[in-house]
Amino acid sequence: MKALVAVKRVVDYNVKVRVKADQTGVETANVKMSMNPFDEIAVEEALRLREAGKVTEVIAFSAGVAQCQETIRTALAMGADRGVLVQTDVELQPLAVAKLLKAVIDKEQPEIVIVGKQAIDDDCNQTGQMLAALMGWPQATFASKLVLGDGKAEVTREVDGGLETIALKLPVLVTTDLRLNEPRYASLPNIMKAKKKPIATMTPDELGVDVTPRLVTLKVEEPAKRQGGVKVGSVAELVDKLKNEARVI
């Protein structure tokens, strides 16, 4: 069976983002961009399934501006077999991405789709669940363990109170949480090899998907800054301040 993973190009997690002066968004010009960290975990999981003989091919999908090709190349360098890029300059919101993914999945017919639980730019945590709904598939969100069996998957999920295990029919949608695996680094030979792997490029129009944003961003502001406080010299002074100044203990 085929596996499909979705990878998003986001501002690198080490970058301290800056709100634009005109309040239209955050500064992304000349800022380091990387693959969303949860998507790296998705790629890794799919590769492990292929290495375990459960999956025959791993397809890396991305949607957005032309540079998303670099993000797909990163997935290919990790070991994915080929890429699909839906290219557009329109701001893509999760519902639109889910529809683009559906259009590609309808053609490719993977039996397992793995995506990150959340992108670290818009922090939406939606695309995977939306895709599962559009496909009429079951969903296993926030996965920390995935066991692929015959016609079904058993997934352990990170929930607020601990862990929960559910069983799902294939085809299935999985979103990754932190502890699912530790993604590999791409080796130099694999980075070279990835340059020759194919990436099919298409547009939302060709897929017949309307990607017009449904949410309008009216403004983006910086949150109120928290003022740093004081350093205290001893534990006794700390407890004293908490008791008599802050009055929280």
């Binding site: 670290i120 730019d121 969903q139 109170g161 983006v220 502001e221 910086e222 004081v230 350093k231 700390l238």
Partner: protein
Amino acid sequence: MSVLVIAEHDNQAIKTATLHAVTAAAEIAKAAGSDVHMLVSGQGCRAAADAGAKVAGVAKVLLAEDAAYDHGLAENWGPLVVKLAQGGHSHVLATATTFGKNLMPRVAAMLDVMQISDISAVVSADTFVRPIYAGNALATVQSKDAIKIITVRGTAFAPAEATGGSGTVEAIEGTGAAGLSEFVRAELSKSERPELTSARVIISGGRGMQSGDNFPLLEKVADRLGAAVGASRAAVDAGFVPNDYQVGQTGKIVAPELYIAVGISGAIQHLAGMKDSKVIVAINKDEDAPIFQVADYGLVGDLFKLVPELDEELAKRQS
């Protein structure tokens, strides 16, 4: 057209997490000139529905009793919430817990609408504020969709009063099981301590704790203060503690009265989860650690010496 809140409950009572969403729903209902309904689903949850009807501001509880709704499987809940959304609800809200985050986008896609995730303020019936980039920016967004599907950041809205309301309870037909997924088992953390998201005091450990074996140091202090124990992503990644301890952008968002960060450097992703705490204390050996930039009180030094000292000092003052 009413505003619907999807309730989490334990069959007897409505969870505090949901009470935060009721407050957000009441603000929307006020702006829209409508009222607040609540959905309580599961098997044997009539007592929870009765409790829901007593929550201040709830006009009506819709009760769907069916075993298909136990364990919160989104495949089964989705069609029920969609049916209710189409049957006279302009907005549907849930708190951004793992349950809400799992279910609501599925509902939104079934309705062909864009969800508004994790709102921290209501501007009007169609305009909301939500944090992006780990809370380093706040976006004000307007929804153009007919039905608004919303998850609510619990710490941004005070919980509604659990009593004092006089809503009605109406039993409704469920939509049954979708047959796509089933619950197998849960391994829930057993703890006598308060839950992270509702604790008044939290003490969290980071990579500086060096090992999970050292977390009992924090637990001793936690028990003295009636606090919950949390952790940074680094501590979870290193395998010191389970993921449900994680405070941060990708873990739990908390805003207690007092947050004590021990051996936590203060990465952006951790600050995103705790910087709205009323008072922040940082204990770290690196005096340049970014955590000190947000801490009200900083203590520089070896945590393995300072934390036991803190425990002793608290014991002395309590006796």
